[in-house]
């Protein structure tokens, strides 16, 4: 159906402020970030180590040992290169999102892969591979935010 401009269109931007509570476990997780530590949790039933830290195991539905330090190195399980941009996008393209299995953990950590030239998709495609080892690169100034880790860079 063609867009008919003879009908009115009312333009508006909705902006609604919310405040989300970190709660104790996530507070500890982000306190860890300030100290360049990544915390995960071990489920006392299925024994899986989950990262980020959490207060219960999503499968076994029981409480967990909630802050244990995990490795800052891991392997890429999957990745994609984002080229498009949309309103309110929190991270500006181009960027590589990845599922990263940190060593010794049993869930994938979602973060960015960086430290390489992102301007040419063909180059990225040839450089970034599933299974590749990567390592956390921290920002100088840490505020207790998920982007205190700038990205995960390939381990040379």
């Amino acid at each position: 159906m063609a867009e008919k401009q003879d009908f009115y269109i009312l333009e508006d931007e909705v902006s609604i402020p919310y405040q989300n509570a970190y709660g104790p476990t996530w507070t500890r997780f982000f306190e860890g970030f300030k100290k360049e530590k990544i915390y995960g949790s071990r489920c006392l039933k299925c024994n899986r180590v989950l990262v980020p830290a959490r207060s219960y195991c999503p499968r076994c539905f029981i409480e967990v040992e909630d802050v244990i330090e995990v490795s800052q190195e891991g392997a890429i399980v999957s990745w994609c290169l984002t080229e498009y941009e949309y309103f309110g996008m929190p991270t500006k393209p181009p960027f590589i999102s990845a599922l990263i299995r940190l060593d010794g953990t049993d869930a994938e950590f979602v973060h960015l892969v960086g430290g390489i030239d992102l301007s040419d998709p063909e180059y990225v495609r040839k450089t970034v591979k599933t299974g590749m080892k990567v390592k956390a690169v921290w920002k100088e100034e840490k505020t207790g935010h998920i982007l205190d880790i700038k990205y995960f860079a390939p381990v040379k």
Binding site: V14, P17, Y56
Partner: protein, 337 residues
Amino acid sequence: MGTVISASSDVFHGGISCANSYYWDAGAAFLKNASRQDGESLFAFSYAIMRILSGSYDSALVLGVCKGSENPENDMLTHFFTDPFYQRQIGLNETIAAALQKREYMDRYGITEEQCAGVVVKNLGNALRNPYAHIKKKVEIDDVLASEVVMDPLRSMECAPKSEGIIAMLLAKEDLAKKLTDKPVWFKGYGSSIDKFYLGDRDLLDGQLKTAAMRAYDVAGITDPKKEIDVAEICEPYAFQELLWYEDLGFCERGEGGKFFDSGATKIDGKIPVNPSGGVIANNPYVSRGLYRLAEGFLQIRGQAGERQLDTKVTTALAHGTHGFAGQCHAVAIIGN
């Protein structure tokens, strides 16, 4: 657990859309056939009942999820119930709609400010005995009448707060229920109904609660609610609405809500106690408040309502939930032993 039906609403969910994605695992639904209702938690209750009655599930977990502290003021959110072109431009929100409804109620039936304030005094009085209540303070009629005008004729103490409220309720079919507990409380009836959208198209004093209640009474086999309902937990985000809902629920005649209140019948020791928990005036998690009412009814029937337990025998309880402007949508559930 066979299935999980939760209630939550995206705008009342901390700015995280598709609310039940977020709490799917926290709601014990990992690899379960589960679903969700938006707007009113008694909807979720009725959907869970359907799933059990269909014979597909022996048990169901019903969740009401609303974490008010993460949200902006309720009226900022209810403002988005409006259509963008007409009512939104006039600034409509739930409190304004309620103020318009209250004035009509006072003008048409002679309901007084004192009667409306009386509901606050009664309910907050009851809330003093309820450990789950959000607002706990002893108030007098004069305190209510002296509280600041929010939207004349509504004063701040006549309007419900913004509260936390996450509630879980377990349903089971007959044989399983009997195995799990000596004191099961049974589903007796449910009804819901929705009114037209535009405020000006509706009669704000003759809405759909009557229809919803009639449906619930029919299923429950209730012919005289005044006699057969032992306790009612009803949803009064604005105190005067409790009086209007008395009428729609058949506790008294049209226009008699104020007089009925004055008779003392709805006090905690009255003939038909209403909101012994303190009601929504004392605790208002927007989406889960209907399920809260039902849980309170459940506790009353089981005799487990602690300090707020009624002295009289409770065999049948009514729970009511409403959302939308001036009661656009209502749900009524009846449970009993």
